[in-house]
């Protein structure tokens, strides 16, 4: 039965080809460029125009999640290997930054150089994890990633270097102006997020991306056609882990403290997956949109409610609603709807003439 219900069938998101609408391809591309440029302009000037600390705080965390959701999608969305263990990489980056800054006596702006190193640490961790986990597929892979998550959480609570369950302090920030305190974090998060999205876009168009999607659609057939599945999957996982680790390192420097249960949080994994699903699994814009909508919403809900369980219930209900009513995500559903509208419009015009 496993075989009959298999997830190896192609994802419907790929059936919408760019340029199939009635608009000429160049005009669509111009429109998309204008849209991206407008979005870029907004996010660049955002902390300069809105100086409210809560608002820029939201901005930093949201951009971090844009990067993480895109990085998750780069591996899981493209390859079909659903990871529920990305918190391992996030937490590795976070703990690396705290421990390294303590050992090397770093503080202030110098700590930012540790962010890419945190990513590197996560990438190194990803190699053995990938070599074990990527031997199995589908359900078993998901469960293995969950197991890795619990191992990481357990290690963080029991190892001496992480400070155990009492946590570890992030390095002291510089004596920056309180009014613009969030800005260095914001712009670094923006650089990471923008680079990740650009990378996801490039990968999707590249030979590497095609190989990943071939693996998602039918791994055995892809292997038969000459795709060396293991190196391809592993490379995607390592790249994804690198970005997630950088995001985790930046995040912990921003919030200032690392506890095992917050750094390795099962809700983190679920939130990232929800963002990608909400926007559209395997698309470039989907995870970005998902993170831009869901993360501020969740931060705002957390501010409104003193009880974490209420946001937990809401979060679960939202997740169920997305899965049941919008299973392919906003971006594919919306573009399909737009294509349908355009087709109807064209038909009515042809009928009239």
């Amino acid at each position: 039965m496993t075989e009959q219900l298999g997830a190896e069938a192609p994802l419907a998101t790929d059936t919408i080809q760019p340029g199939t609408g009635s608009l000429p391809r160049t005009r669509r591309r111009t429109l998309a460029l204008v849209g991206v440029a407008a979005l870029a302009a907004i996010v660049v000037v955002y902390p300069l125009v809105i100086t409210n600390a809560t608002a820029t705080n939201f901005g930093v965390v949201t951009l971090i999640f844009v990067a993480v959701a895109s990085a998750w999608n780069l591996f899981s969305g493209y390859s079909g290997y659903l990871s529920l263990g990305h918190a391992v990489f996030y937490g590795t980056g976070a703990y690396f930054l705290c421990v390294a800054a303590k050992d090397w006596n770093l503080s202030g702006s110098a700590v930012f150089w540790l962010v890419p190193l945190g990513g590197l640490a996560a990438a190194v961790i990803a190699v053995p994890l990938g070599l074990v986990a990527l031997r199995v597929r589908r359900h078993t892979f998901v469960v293995i990633t969950i197991a890795f998550f619990f191992i990481a959480q357990l290690s963080a609570s029991n190892l001496g270097v992480t400070g155990g369950s009492s946590g570890i302090l992030a390095p002291a920030p510089g004596s920056w102006d309180p009014a613009t305190y969030n800005n260095p974090f914001y712009y670094l998060a923006l650089i990471i997020a923008a680079a990740t999205v650009a990378l996801a876009w490039q990968v999707r168009r590249s030979r590497f991306g095609l190989q990943l999607r071939a693996i998602r659609d039918d791994e055995d057939r892809a292997a038969g056609l000459g795709v060396r599945a293991m190196p391809v999957k592993l490379a995607a996982l390592v790249v994804s882990a690198f970005i997630t680790g950088m995001a985790g390192a930046l995040w912990v420097f921003f919030i200032g403290e690392a506890f095992p249960q917050f750094v390795f949080d099962p809700l983190f994994d679920l939130a990232v997956v929800l963002m990608a699903f909400f926007g559209g699994l395997g698309t470039v814009a989907g995870p970005v949109l998902g993170a831009l909508i869901l993360e501020p919403t969740q931060l705002w809900l957390n501010l409104q409610q003193s009880n974490s369980y209420e946001s937990e219930i809401l979060f679960g209900a939202l997740f169920l609603a997305v899965i049941l009513f919008l299973p392919r995500g906003v971006v594919p559903t919306a573009s399909e709807y737009a294509a349908k509208l355009r087709a109807r419009w064209r038909r009515s015009r042809e009928d009239a003439s």
Partner: protein, 293 residues
């Protein structure tokens, strides 16, 4: 030292019975529906809280209370299947169902926090405090009762699967859903009832877990599900017999490590998992074990 080891082995084997029962439910659901019910952990906790409410507020004995909680959990299982799992179709069904179960688990966890708070509760009856003296050490009665209950429930599961027409339909669906449909099996009904049975065992599991462990709160579901997932993967997904062996093996190993390294004893589960999967990716007993019986 010798007594300590003997005690750990006895406690491991007896405690393994309950995990075997919970894992059997999980692996049964997987075998028939191709779904990993990651909500199983929180459902066990829910079963525990149902027993708690019955015993504290209505003063019903824990064992008698099972007559209420088992059917209740069955109904909850069928409802979860019918509302959230059955509508999911299409290519991405595998990951969708897993995420749907995760979302259900979150909602249940939130509701339990709301209803009971985060304080640890434990179930008590006269047999949770009394103990028997065997082989030179004391064993709490609840361990023996829990093991007995697990054996009875697993035996019942086997009787249903291998001695009834419904069980035949379940096994047919496990082997080949399309063929089962062709010979007139109502696959949807089989799936719903299987999900119900797989969930109903959590009522027993929750009662024994709540009475024999140091207590539980809504957060205990994560610990439970991670152990259960490790067990069913180690066993080979879909293998009920394998789940029994793997559960007893894991809990015994954990109890032994616990003597020296209490903080790291849970890691035994994951370590065994990683080692097995690097050597034998299909698990100890593969998927064939179910069909072979």
């Amino acid at each position: 030292m010798g007594t300590e080891i003997a005690r750990a082995i006895a406690a491991g084997i007896l405690g393994g019975g309950v995990y075997a029962l919970m894992a059997a439910g999980l692996t049964l659901i997987f075998g028939v529906l191709d779904i990993i019910n990651v909500a199983q952990g929180i459902l066990v906790v829910l079963g525990g809280y149902l027993s708690y409410v019955l015993s504290v507020h209505l003063h019903i004995d824990l064992l008698v209370g099972l007559l209420v909680t088992v059917p209740a959990m069955f109904v909850i299982g069928v409802a979860i299947y019918w509302l959230f799992i059955r509508p999911l179709r299409g290519a991405e069904r595998t990951s969708m169902t897993l995420l749907a179960c995760f979302a259900v688990a979150l909602i249940i966890e939130g509701v339990l926090y709301r209803a009971f708070g985060s304080n640890y509760v434990s179930l008590s009856a006269w047999y949770t405090t009394s103990s028997v003296h065997i082989f030179g050490f004391y064993l709490s009665d609840i361990y023996l009762i829990g093991f007995g209950l697990a054996v009875v429930a697993i035996a019942a599961l086997y009787l249903i699967l291998y001695r009834t027409t419904f069980g035949r339909a379940v096994r047919a669906t496990m082997q080949n859903q399309a063929a089962a449909r062709l010979i007139g099996i109502d696959v949807n009904r089989v799936a719903a009832v299987t999900f119900g049975i797989g969930t109903a065992v959590t009522a027993v599991g929750g009662m024994v877990f709540g009475a024999s462990s140091g207590g539980f709160n809504p957060n205990s579901g994560y610990d439970l599900i991670s152990r259960l997932l490790a067990i069913i993967i180690l066993a080979g997904m879909g293998s009920i017999g394998g789940a029994l062996v793997a559960a007893v093996f894991m809990t015994t190993a954990e109890a032994l490590v616990d003597i020296w390294q209490p903080n790291w004893s849970v890691a035994v589960f994951y370590l065994a998992l990683v080692i097995i999967l690097t050597v034998r990716p299909s698990g100890l007993f593969g998927r064939r074990a179910v069909r072979a019986q």
